[in-house]
């Protein structure tokens, strides 16, 4: 069975057990991450994380709160790096997102660290949060765990800057 088919089967079986089903999509080519964002979003926030990264897991409720604080003008996407480990599977990632009721889409990244690092221009240290405008221009980045209120304030400031 192809990896995408296996992924879909796993995703559907996890989704069937939960009332809340997170949006988790397998992506191998980093360029395709851009397509996850709704076109209407003025600001697009990418958060790179993994289940094995303690500060990443700790900041997930903050990301949910940030998502709740805005409407369609700010769109979030998580990029799970869990597939970097041998014997990894999307199942625990989907279960974690379901349990934490993460409504914004997440990507289960199955590509190479260099490809993603080149695409996002980051060293490889996670968590990292990067915000792009609607034209794909980077407008802010934060290395390490985010502060919920400061990030919300920063996003509001960036929205005000928009023409």
């Amino acid at each position: 069975m192809r990896k995408s088919a296996r992924f879909a089967a796993t995703f559907l079986s996890v989704a069937a057990l939960n009332a809340f089903a997170a949006d988790l999509r397998p992506v191998k080519d980093p360029v395709k991450i851009a397509a996850v964002f709704p076109r209407a979003a003025q600001l697009r926030l990418v958060n790179v994380w993994a289940l094995w990264c303690a500060p990443c897991v700790a900041e997930m409720p903050d990301l949910r709160a940030i998502d709740d604080a805005f409407g369609a003008e700010v769109a979030l996407t998580g990029i799970s790096m869990d597939d970097m480990l041998p014997d990894a599977s999307p199942k625990p990632v989907a279960a974690f997102l379901d349990k934490n009721k993460i409504a914004f889409p997440n990507v289960y990244y199955t590509g190479n660290i260099d490809d993603l690092g080149d695409y996002l221009k980051f060293s490889g240290e996670i968590p990292i949060t990067i915000v792009f405008d609607s034209k794909g221009k980077e407008v802010w980045r934060h290395q390490g765990r985010i502060n919920r209120n400061q990030t919300i304030a920063r996003l509001r400031e960036l929205l005000r800057r928009k023409p």
Partner: protein
């Protein structure tokens, strides 16, 4: 007053930022650290004439643990060619008991580390190297110059491996060549800094 405020802001900014890794060609910082395996101090003298690998790693990071067998394999292969290996654990053992010297020894014994497993108790050596994550590898030549830093390989999964950064660097240097890809993208768990 304004000048003082600027200096204070500058100082705060320098503390808050993650340091950059030691530049390629710059002298590697020397260190003397306790080896968890036998409790004895081990001195790493950068200009000792030997090719050396310093890998920042730890007990708790799944990504570092995934690379452990690979690091051991590389060490065994290149130690036969005279390369010296030092594994350095910079994580705060006051906050994380798994990183204590006793637990480091347990892990090193269990996995039969063929190199010293050194405790960087105040994270000072990791700071001096500008290490960011575990695992983060540095290669130092016999004159003490840093010749490579970054990942061990670009993937912990052998089937996805495209670039073997550390191995390539060692092979190049052993063959008298410059390292083509001297800076790669370290990936792993953020170092649990001792504050």
């Amino acid at each position: 007053m304004r000048k003082l405020l600027f200096i204070v802001i500058l100082l705060f900014a320098s503390v808050a930022c993650t340091a950059e890794p030691v530049k390629i060609g710059a002298q590697a910082p020397a260190f003397t650290l306790v080896n968890a395996l036998d409790g004895k101090a081990v001195a790493m003298k950068p200009a000792d004439g030997n090719l050396k690998v310093v890998v920042f790693t730890c007990n708790q990071c799944p990504y570092a643990k995934a690379f452990e067998p690979r690091i051991i394999e590389i060490a065994k292969r290149f130690q036969q060619k005279g390369v010296r290996f030092y594994a350095v654990n910079p994580n705060d053992d006051a906050k994380y008991e798994i990183e204590t010297l006793a637990n480091m020894k347990a892990r090193a014994d269990e996995k039969e580390y063929p190199f010293p497993y050194l405790k960087d108790g105040d994270s000072a050596i990791a700071r001096a190297y500008g290490a960011r994550v575990t695992p983060h590898a540095f290669v130092i030549d016999g004159s003490g110059a840093v010749r490579y830093h970054g990942y061990v390989d670009d993937s912990a999964k052998p089937e996805d491996r495209k670039t073997t950064g550390l191995t390539d660097a060692l092979n190049s240097l052993l063959n008298g060549r410059d390292v083509a890809n001297a800076e790669t993208r370290e990936f792993g768990c953020t170092i649990k800094w001792k504050s």
